[in-house]
Each structure stands twice: as C-alpha cells, then as structure tokens.
C-alpha cells in the first residue's frame, strides 16, 4: 500500500506541473499586466518601471514561472503565495481565514447527503419498478438537471422572502453571510445561516448520490451469491444489509473520496448566492477584482485537492474491498 501510494504521488507530479503551467499561462497571456492598477496620471512612469522590476515582470517567461512555482510549494513561508492586490494581506493568511467556513459548509452538506441519499437509493433499488422507485428516480433525474444557481436562487426566495411573508416574519432564514452581527461564533446562529446553503447543496448531491446508490445496489442484488443467500432461507434483513449492502457500498466509498476536493475548493456559485464567506465566493470576488495572486493560489489549490481526492478514492477502495491488492 505504501509503495502504491508513493508511486501514485510520483505520477501526480507531472499533472501538478501541467496544471501550474496552464494556470500561469492564462494569467500571463491575459491582456494588461499586474501594474495596470497603478497606471494613473499621478504615478510617474519611472515608478511603474521600478515596480515591474521589483515584481520581476521584466524577466523571461520561464524564469518567472520557475520563481512562482518554487515559492508556491513553500507554504511555510507566509509570503509564498504572494500578497493580495486588493488589501495587501498575504494570500496564505487570506486563504486560511476563509477555509474553515468552506469546510464547515461543504462538510455539513456532505454528511447530510450521505445520511439521506444512501437510504433513499437502497429503498429505490429494493423496490425496483414500484411507485416509490419511480418517484425517487424521477425526482433524482430532475434534481440532477437543476443548475445549482437556479436552485440556490429559488431556495433563497422561498426560505428568505416568501417564508417571511407567509408567516408574518415569524419564520425566515437569514439571506446572507454566516453570522449575525453581534453574535460571533454562536453555533445556533451559524446553523440558522447554514440551513439554506446546505439545503441547496444537499438537494443536488442527494439527486446524484441516490442514483449511484440505486444502480450499485441493483448490480449487487442481481448477483448469484445474493440469490443463494435468499435460497438458503436467510432473513430478508440479513440478506439486504449483510450480503448486499456491504458490496454495494464499495463504489459509494469511491464517490466519497472524489467529493473530498469540494471540501477545500468549495462551491463558488452557491457560496456566492448566499454570500457565504468561503473560498468559493472568495475566488469569484478575486476574479472580479483581477487579484492575480489569490486567483492563482486558489486554482492551484483546487487542482491539488482534485489529485489528492482521486488518490484518496483509490486508497479507500483498496481498504473496503479486500479483493483489490496494490
């Protein structure tokens, strides 16, 4: 296992390099340069030139790339990812400040998804072609087709505006942010703020997950050993939960590994709709501000998260399925 992981990590190196080259080239090839924001009549041209020299923007392209990449992989230095153009705060500090919010939101959504989607998928598979199954699969198909920003907008409207109108202000979820003013760190307040974004994230992923669980469970239920177990006269419960479910969960564990990157990268659209102070909405903000250091750091970070998520998925697969040997 350790050798396999080492080999996978070595294989990941060229992919990380590829991602970094693409991210660097997009930023580099874009019209204008980072000093544009200083170009006002009040700033003398010599000063701009001095800035270009101090940023190293006059150096050849490969040299700039190497300088960026080598410092990027030394995150123990506070200035490794540069300083934000907007407020001059080190990018690492900015990212660390926002990461807990994303982790909390995405983690809760993932837990809710797992708790709801697995039973739903199992019920649909066990009662294949029944009305329950038809209702579940149809709503899963529709949920799967719902774009996240659409669902988010509707939930915001229903839970934040309509609910307040119908109940004369008694029930109504906060429209934005993570905490109310003056109640910093109050868990009830945060949970109240989290309800709508978690709901809109969870509906979408429950739709996807329950489809996977259903088809994985159906695959297993049609296998010979399940029929044998039934034929032996084992109780239905034991056949379903001991024989079938354990094997049906193998692909689902992989899915869990693949969802890990979203814990770090966040959901840009949902976070933006609900003004959630996480990394996803930070990305959208910094693209709007052309805050290059933040954009590059976040793009790299989520690329690395995807690679680690894939690796984790494979490792988990090996753990839950003893037939797999690395």
């Amino acid at each position: 296992m350790a050798r396999y992981m080492a080999r996978r990590l070595i294989q990941a190196i060229p992919i990380v390099i590829g991602v970094s080259i693409i991210v660097f080239l997009i930023v580099y090839a874009s019209p204008g340069d980072p000093t544009d924001r200083f170009r006002t009549p009040r700033v003398p041209p010599e000063q701009i030139l001095a800035l270009i020299r101090s940023y190293g923007l006059d150096k050849p392209l490969p040299e700039q790339y190497l300088a960026w990449v080598t410092t990027f992989f030394q995150p123990w230095n506070i200035d490794a990812w540069g300083y934000s153009f907007v407020d001059g705060v080190p990018v690492i500090e900015k990212v660390m400040r926002r990461m807990p919010a994303t982790f909390l939101l995405m983690g809760t959504a993932l837990v809710v998804t797992v708790i709801v989607a697995i039973p739903i998928g199992i019920i649909a598979a066990v009662r294949q072609y029944s009305w329950t199954d038809k209702i579940i699969t149809t709503s899963a198909t529709i949920g799967y087709a719902l774009p996240s920003f659409l669902l988010g907008t509707y939930i915001l409207y229903l839970g934040g505006v309509l609910a307040k109108q119908w109940t004369n202000g008694a029930v109504g979820f906060p429209l934005f942010g993570m905490e109310s003013l003056g109640s910093r760190g109050d868990p009830v307040d945060i949970a109240w703020h989290m309800f709508m974004p978690v709901l809109s994230l969870a509906i979408l992923s429950i739709a996807a997950w329950s489809r996977y669980v259903r088809s994985s469970m159906l695959d297993v239920l049609h296998q010979d050993y399940v029929r044998t177990a039934k034929a032996k006269g084992l109780p239905r419960r034991s056949v379903l939960y001991k024989h079938a479910l354990r094997n049906a969960m193998i692909p689902i564990v992989t899915l869990l590994g693949l969802s890990i990157p979203t814990l770090i990268a966040g959901a840009a659209i949902t976070e933006t709709i609900f003004s959630w102070p996480g990394l996803g909405s930070m990305y959208v903000e910094s693209v709007g501000n052309k805050d290059y250091p933040v954009i590059m750091a976040l793009a790299m970070l989520s690329g690395i998260a995807v690679i680690l998520g894939n690796l984790l998925a494979d490792v988990l697969y090996g753990i839950v399925d003893p037939r797999i040997k690395y």
Partner: protein, 318 residues
C-alpha cells in the same frame, strides 16, 4: 428496383406471391424486410418515449428562439418607462414587462437563442477538439496515446469553473465568443476519451485490418472506416456537451461574468430578476423553467440516442 425492395414486397404480400405461383422454394423467413442502419436507428429511437417527447420540446424551444427574435428585431432591449412591471398583454406581451419596461416574452426568446448559440457553438469546438485528440491517441497508440492521455488528465484536474471564469474575465468580459471558446477548450475531455476508446477497439477489428492490408491510406482508414462507426458515442457526448455548455454560460452570466446587459441571456435575466424578487417573482421563474427544460431534454435525448445509435443493440423492433 433494388433487390432488397423486391424482397420486402414479396415478404409483405405473400398471398400475391402464392397466387403467381413462382416463389420457387424461397423461404419466407429469409425475406423479412431488410432495413438499413438508419431505419433501425429511427425505430429504436421512436420506442424511447421520453427521448421523443424531449425532441419535440427541443424543437418547439428552437422554433421559439429563432422565430420570436426574427419577428421582433431589437424589441428585446427596448425599455419603455410607461410599462414598468406592466401586466401581460395579449398577444404582444404574454409575460408582461420587467423593471425597465422590456417585454419579458421577447427577452426570454432572445435569451434562449443566446443559450442555444453558445451551446451549439461550444459543442462544435468540444466535438472537434475531442475527436481530433481522441482519434490521434486511439489510432496511433503507443507514446502518442500516452502523452495525449496525460494531457487529458491535466485538463480533467483543472478546476473547470475556476478556469472558465478566469479566461472570460481576463479576455473580454461580456463577449459571447470568449464564453464559447472558454467552454469549448475546457470541455472536450469526455469526447476525447470516448473516441479514443472506440478507436482503440476499432483499430483491431477485422474490417480495419482488411482495409490496411489492401493498402488504404491512414486518412482513408480513419475517415472512411473508423470515424463512421464512432459517431454514436460522439453524438451522445455532444448532447451532454450542449446541456453542460448552456448551464455554464447561464452560470457565468448569473455571476456577472458572461453576457452583459442589455443583451439577453438566461443567466443574466435570472440574476437581474433576483434583485426584483418581491416586486416580480415570476421573472425568476421563466428563465429557470426554460433552462431546466433544455437540460432535461438534452439528457433524455442523449439517453435515447445512445440506445438508438448502438449497432450492437438487440434488433427486436418489428
């Protein structure tokens, strides 16, 4: 008359054949109507009820997106201060007017048109780049295949939405074609993998080996022998690609990076309507329903086409 038509006529009218008395020991079973590949495709497709409904819905949507803007010209970005939040009027404005007095129905048609243009143009890039990369990788094999597939891995690792946002915001915010290119150059990996898989399999097939043995050029083998049987998966990838592109464009415009006002896009209509939630709640509903319809139809259509285009599917259609 072609032989197969004669055959089907004989099979269709066995009574006549007996009367004329010269069937001559031909077994009727062998004379079952001969159908071409595309006839079979059509028959298999028609059996897929949801796919047929989706095709009809999409046709109506396309007609709506083509005809209404054609008839109304620039009306979609024509504000009218006397009609702010105006009530529906028939037949001119069945959905009423928005916060600056623009005709919502006409705007919706224009927005659908924008979405479809983005979807189909992006899919042309996706299918083009995807089949090129996939065909080269699958046909050449060896280190070329290896190198190209590592490149696909890199593109798959990229945070797609992040990269698209970056490209659109740096290279021309609000420009439809920048949006199309950004979606196209990030979205071709699925098509490339499918085509590569098909080509790896087809390369070893007897008919391709035969063509090679007969001295056919690489180009002839690829275009005449290998590409036609690989169109099925490509069409399915394209159907999924259109839906994805439409959603990404709407998401970009919703976030304020895609197509900007006064041009109409489902995303920017939705974003705009969000501001006027309380005053005009239905304006959030219309662009949304069109978007969901498009995505649902594309995915059902993809399912139907996948089953219909697969020549290995059981031919039990009568």
């Amino acid at each position: 008359m072609k032989p197969q038509e004669t055959a089907s006529r004989i099979a269709a009218t066995p009574a006549d054949a007996t009367v004329s008395g010269d069937v001559g020991g031909v077994d009727e079973v062998d004379l079952a109507p001969v159908r071409t590949y595309w006839q079979l495709v059509r028959r298999r497709f028609v059996r897929h009820r949801m796919a047929v409904i989706s095709l009809i819905t999409l046709t109506i949507l396309i007609a709506f997106a083509v005809l209404v803007p054609l008839l109304t010209g620039d009306l979609y970005k024509d504000p009218d201060i006397h009609r702010i939040y105006g009530a529906p009027e028939f037949p001119g404005a069945p959905l009423g007017y928005d916060e600056i007095g623009q005709n919502v129905f006409v705007r919706l048609a224009k927005a659908t048109q924008t979405s479809l243009i983005v979807g189909f143009s992006a899919v042309i890039i996706i299918a083009g780049v995807g089949s090129l990369v996939g065909a080269i990788a699958g046909y050449m094999g060896g280190w070329v295949d290896n190198a190209l597939m590592r490149f696909v891995d890199v593109v798959l690792t990229l945070p797609i939405l992040f990269i698209i946002l970056m490209i659109v915001s740096f290279f021309g915010q609000g420009n439809v074609w920048v949006v199309v290119i950004a979606i196209g150059i990030t979205g071709w990996t699925l098509a490339a993998r499918l085509i590569r898989g098909e080509f790896l399999m087809l390369r070893e097939m007897d008919f391709v080996q035969a063509a090679r043995a007969l001295g056919a050029s690489h180009r002839r083998i690829v275009f005449r022998h290998m590409l036609p049987p690989a169109t099925g998966p490509l069409i399915v990838a394209a159907a999924i690609g259109v839906a994805d592109a439409v959603v990404i464009e709407a998401a970009l415009s919703f976030l304020g990076f895609g197509i900007s006002l006064p041009e109409a896009s489902l995303g920017n209509m939705l974003n705009n309507a969000q501001t006027y939630f309380i005053r005009a709640p239905l304006m959030v509903f219309w662009p949304g329903i069109i978007l969901v319809l498009m995505v649902l139809c594309a995915s059902f259509l993809g399912d139907g086409l996948r089953d219909a285009l697969d020549p290995r599917q059981k031919i039990d259609v009568k």
